[in-house]
């Protein structure tokens, strides 16, 4: 299918012909693997606070303290897994190791009872996520012709987010039927993880063979990863990430003024996911048309809208819903697209490392943004803080929007 897509003339590709899939099978399969895995991980993380405090009688304060550490660990792991995937030329099996680690964490979780063991298990789960993301995105990038990348990542992220929406609802449905059924949720979660793992191992094709004639395994050189084109992108996404303050603050800002937001607070993230789910594919297709790097930058206009709406001195349901939709649109326009862009700015041999580098820069940048914004939040208050970051983002966007197309022009056509 990969080949048949590439063989089609460009004119044909422009129009969507019914009956011919536009997305490689491996992308859909990886999407289903992500869906199953997200049902598994999101169902457990939705009930974890209740389980720790209600059932185990533990303090969440300590848990929250440890949470911060994962982010740093995750960043280091990402880079390592990217290099390992490129060196070994087996991104599938590196991704498998990540999914497998998270799956093993599910098994251990069923037996874990103390805070220390629970912390170890949750850390293992996060490390697994750090390991698998970049190799999986590299497989999507490798299986898709450049002009369809936005659509392919859109399909993948849609499936992924379907899992993230189903997971918490499934978990709460189980607890509804069985009030102390935490272990049942964990067993169900393990089942989903195992099916996802089996799907990846058995049915997702590994890396397509190297072009004929190229017998020698290409060396993975750091120099290739540090391609000037990628460096330009890293600078771009890094600066934008520094102005991405995190959903938690947006929800808290809404909470300050809206009873509606307070009432639905525990579920606001489901609303964001629902918007993301609906918009991931359409925005991916738009990205293919207008340029993916351009979409990545324009997506931040949605983020700017989030800040502005959240800072408005009005409450009510409409404001909350508008914010969630804009936030979902922001993720839909940037999350998969970041991997799509990064994967084409480096030679194919170091693609996973390139994607991992971009995702790491984004993760670290956002962590720094959350920390800095938190200080600002307390210093000047929620509304003023949002206005400050909105102005900064507007200035940056005014500079980068006109230049965003350049990255699209230098991307590899392969």
């Amino acid at each position: 299918m990969y080949l048949s897509l590439q063989d089609r003339p460009a004119a044909e590709r422009a129009g969507s012909r019914p009956g011919r899939p536009r997305v490689a099978r491996v992308v859909v399969l990886l999407g289903l693997v992500s869906l199953l895995t997200d049902v598994s991980s999101e169902s457990v993380s939705a009930i974890l606070p209740l389980y720790l405090t209600g059932a185990l009688g533990l303090s969440m304060v300590a848990y929250g303290f440890v949470e911060g550490l994962y982010q740093g660990v995750s960043a280091v792991v990402r880079i390592g897994s990217g290099l390992a995937a490129d060196r070994s030329e087996h991104p599938k099996w590196v991704a498998f190791a990540g999914y497998g680690l998270s799956c093993a964490a599910r098994v251990l979780m069923i037996g874990a009872a103390g805070l220390a063991s629970m912390t170890a298990v949750v850390t293992a789960d996060r490390v697994g996520k750090g390991i698998r993301t970049a190799p999986r995105d590299a497989m999507i990038a490798a299986a898709t012709p450049t002009e369809d990348l936005g659509r392919a990542f859109g399909v993948h992220r849609t499936l992924d987010t379907v899992g993230a929406v189903i997971g918490p609802l499934l978990a709460f449905a189980v607890l509804w039927a069985i009030p102390d059924g935490y272990r049942t949720v964990m067993v169900v979660s393990l089942a989903f993880a195992l099916v996802g793992l089996a799907l990846l191992a058995l049915l997702v094709p590994g890396r397509p063979s190297r072009p004929a004639g190229e017998q020698v395994r290409p060396r993975v050189r750091w120099r290739d990863v540090a391609d000037p084109r990628l460096r330009r992108m890293l600078l771009l996404v890094g600066v934008l990430a520094l102005l991405t303050v995190g959903d938690g603050f947006v929800y808290l800002a809404l909470l300050e003024r809206s009873d509606f937001a307070a009432y639905w607070f525990p579920l606001l993230y489901v609303g964001t996911n629902a918007a993301y789910l609906v918009l991931a594919l359409p925005l991916g297709r738009v990205a293919d048309r207008i340029g993916r790097a351009r979409m990545l930058v324009l997506g931040h206009l949605a983020l700017l809208a989030v800040y502005v709406v959240a800072a408005l001195p009005v409450g009510g349901a409409a404001v909350t819903v508008a914010c969630l939709v804009a936030l979902g649109a922001f993720y839909a326009a940037t999350d998969g697209v970041t991997a799509a862009v990064a994967g084409r700015l480096v030679p194919p041999g170091v693609r996973t490392s390139g994607i991992a580098a971009a995702q790491t820069v984004v993760a670290v940048g956002r962590l720094a943004a959350a920390t800095g914004f938190g200080a600002l939040w307390f210093a000047v208050g929620p509304q003023a803080a949002l206005v400050v970051v909105a102005v900064a983002l507007a200035v940056v966007l005014a500079v980068v929007v006109p230049r965003a197309g350049r990255l699209d022009r230098v991307a590899e056509p392969a």
């Binding site: 606070p49 304060v61 300590a62 993230a164 709460f172 995190g246 993230y269 956002r366 307390f378």
Partner: protein
């Protein structure tokens, strides 16, 4: 991948999936059947009508006896806590009561799970309801029942970020919110500070409807703070103290002490004399106590303790405040104890 190879892989995948679905399904069915049996089984211990001990000095608590009445508010007389429990039909995760009003934090289960603070009359009839932003943790009423506080864990469950914090709110009973204590001015060691990582939890009220004590954590250090509802300030009293509880005579504060500083997983209890500033460290035995203590009288604390290895099963223990006192099992299958001593609104301070 050859055609035959693909076929055998598909077969293998279907087999794995069936095993997983069947296994998880069987486990869930078993759990559901057990739950049905629990609901159908008669209570393990005798029960009496919900209002049996109304007007008497009593302990109000969350009943955690496995079965149909798990999680429901119940009471026993203070003079004989082993008497049959008076179990209501009102569910609360955390409960605090005075003779006139009851504060209840509840997880409202459903496919869409939400959390609520409920103001109840003494007979547990609902008077007011306000949404909570996370999992219930602590609630306290002021001694005269005019103020209520709630602490919840806000799990910042956002798509790309997992954060965590507590939210502690003080409300007027029968009235509106006095705000989130995070927005109060904070003075640590005499200096006004505004750290971003602050968390506030575990309020206990004095009897003047203005002063209260609470925990503020910043930079990994939990401080005992004295709060002022009129000035809207929190002022540190001393570090290393969590979940304070003011004694009925107002002279001492019982609180949690971290036995393994920094880790935040292993606590014992201590009692601070507010005049002398001296702390008496108590011995709770090997179990870590993670609860806001409740004063049974001026010399005895009550606290909930989860049973090791049995999720959801808890007991209430008592501990004398003199050095060398040993913990004793006070009430089996109970959680969130609240002492109601009077009939006209005068109650144990921390209840």
């Amino acid at each position: 991948m050859s055609r035959a190879g693909l076929r055998s892989r598909v077969v293998a995948f279907v087999a794995v999936s069936l095993v997983c679905v069947a296994g998880a399904g069987a486990y869930a069915a078993q759990a559901l059947a057990e739950r049905r049996d629990e609901l159908a089984a008669p209570p393990r211990s005798p029960q009496v009508a919900a209002d049996r001990y109304a007007g008497e000095p009593r302990l109000v608590f969350r009943n955690t006896e496995i079965g149909a009445s798990f999680g429901l508010v119940a009471s026993v007389p203070l003079e004989d806590p082993r008497a049959p429990r008076a179990v209501s039909d009102v569910a609360c995760d955390r409960v605090d009561a005075t003779a006139r009003v009851v504060s209840c934090l509840r997880t409202e289960r459903g496919v869409v799970t939400k959390y609520a603070w409920l103001e109840l009359a003494a007979d547990l009839a609902q008077r007011r309801r306000a949404p909570l932003t996370g999992t219930p943790s602590r609630t306290r009423l002021s001694p005269d029942g005019r103020l209520a506080s709630s602490t919840v864990f806000v799990a910042g469950h956002a798509y790309m970020q997992v954060g965590f914090s507590t939210a502690t709110v003080v409300r007027r009973v029968g009235g509106g919110s006095l705000g989130n204590l995070e927005d109060f001015g904070l003075v640590v060691d005499g200096r006004r500070v505004a750290p971003r990582d602050r968390n506030v939890w575990g309020v206990t009220f004095a009897d003047d409807d203005r002063t209260f004590y609470a925990t503020v954590a910043t930079g990994g250090v939990p401080y005992l703070v004295r709060g002022d509802l009129e000035e809207r300030t929190l002022t540190s009293v001393q570090p290393g103290a969590e979940c304070p509880s003011l004694s009925p005579d107002g002279s001492r504060v019982a609180y949690k002490i971290d036995r393994d500083p920094g880790a935040g997983t292993d606590w014992t209890l201590g009692v601070l004399d507010l005049d002398s500033g001296r702390t008496t460290r108590l011995d709770v035995g090997p179990s870590s106590v993670d609860d806001q203590a409740e004063w049974l009288d001026d010399e005895t604390l009550l606290y909930g303790l989860a049973r090791t290895g049995a999720p959801g099963e808890t007991d209430v223990w008592s501990l004398g405040t003199r050095p060398g006192s040993e913990p004793r099992l006070y009430l089996r299958d109970a959680w969130s104890p609240s002492v109601v001593t009077g009939t006209t609104g005068t109650t144990g301070r921390s209840s």
